[in-house]
C-alpha cells in the first residue's frame, strides 16, 4: 500500500493493520518526524512530483518484494507544510522472520531518501531555505546495490 498525502497518518493504526497475519512472525516499521535541531524551525514544507513519486515508490516496493519474502508493505509519505514533531513518513514491512522485515524496512527508507522525488524547504521565521541532499544518504543507499 502506497499513499502520498497531505493528511496526517495514525502510525499505531498502520502498525495494527500489519499485525493481522498469523502466518507472519515479524513486522518492522519506521516513522520519520520533522526534526528541529536548533529549536528555531518554524515549518518544513515538502514539495513532490505527482505521478513520479507514486511510480518510484511502487518501483521501490516491487524491488523490496523481489529481494525479501514480504507478505505486506506499507509506505506513507506526506507533503505540504509541516511543523516540528509532525509525522512525515511511515514504512512498514511484514515477513515470516525478523531479519527480512528489518532489512526490507531499512532498504525502503534508504532508497526512498535517494529516489523518491521530494524536496524539503525549511522556514525559520521569514527566512526559507531548501534542504541540501546529504552524501551520507547516497552512501546508505549504495550498500544495497
Amino acid at each position: 500500500m502506497i499513499h502520498v498525502q497531505t493528511e496526517d497518518f495514525d502510525a499505531g493504526a498502520l502498525l495494527n493493520g500489519l499485525l493481522n497475519d498469523p502466518a507472519a512472525g515479524a513486522v518492522a516499521t519506521f516513522t520519520g518526524t520533522v526534526r528541529d535541531d536548533s529549536g528555531t524551525l518554524t515549518a518544513l514544507t515538502l514539495e513532490h512530483y505527482p505521478g513520479m513519486t507514486e511510480k518510484q515508490l511502487q518501483a521501490l516496493e516491487d524491488d523490496a518484494r523481489r529481494r525479501w519474502p514480504l507478505s505486506d508493505v506499507v509506505i506513507i509519505h506526506r507533503y505540504g507544510r509541516l511543523i516540528p514533531g509532525d509525522r512525515i513518513v511511515f514504512v512498514g514491512t511484514r515477513a515470516a522472520h525478523r531479519a527480512d522485515a528489518f532489512a526490507a524496512c531499512e532498504f525502503l527508507m534508504d532508497w526512498l531518501k535517494t529516489r523518491a522525488p521530494f524536496w524539503k524547504q525549511e522556514q525559520y521565521g521569514d527566512r526559507q531555505t531548501w534542504v541540501e541532499a546529504k552524501a551520507s544518504d547516497d552512501t546508505a543507499a549504495d550498500r544495497w546495490s
Binding site: E47, V89, P117, F118, E132, A133
Partner: protein, 83 residues
C-alpha cells in the same frame, strides 16, 4: 514536450511547468539543457551549474546522455531530500 521544474529550479525558472516544441536537432538531455539556458534569464540561472541538477525522463531518473523526443515528459530538480 512537457517540462517540469521543482524546488529551487522552479523558483529560478519562474514556473513549475511549461510546454515547448523541441527543436529537431536536440536529441539528448544535455542538448536540451543547453537550449533551455538560452530561453530566458531564469532558465540560464536555473541551469548555471548543471552539476546541481537532476533529471527525470517520463518520470524515471535519467542522466544527461538520455535520449529525448518532443513526446517526452522531462523534469529538472535538485537532488531529492524526502524521507
Amino acid at each position: 514536450m512537457d517540462l517540469f521544474y521543482f524546488a529551487w529550479l522552479r523558483e529560478k525558472v519562474g514556473t513549475g511547468s511549461e510546454q515547448r516544441t523541441l527543436p529537431a536537432d536536440i536529441t539528448t538531455v544535455a542538448a536540451l539543457v543547453e537550449w533551455l539556458k538560452t530561453q530566458s534569464p531564469g532558465h540560464a540561472a536555473a541551469f548555471a551549474d548543471p552539476a546541481l541538477v537532476r533529471v527525470a525522463v517520463n518520470q524515471d531518473h535519467a542522466g544527461l546522455d538520455a535520449i529525448v523526443t518532443d513526446r517526452d515528459e522531462v523534469a529538472f530538480f535538485p537532488p531529492v531530500t524526502g524521507g
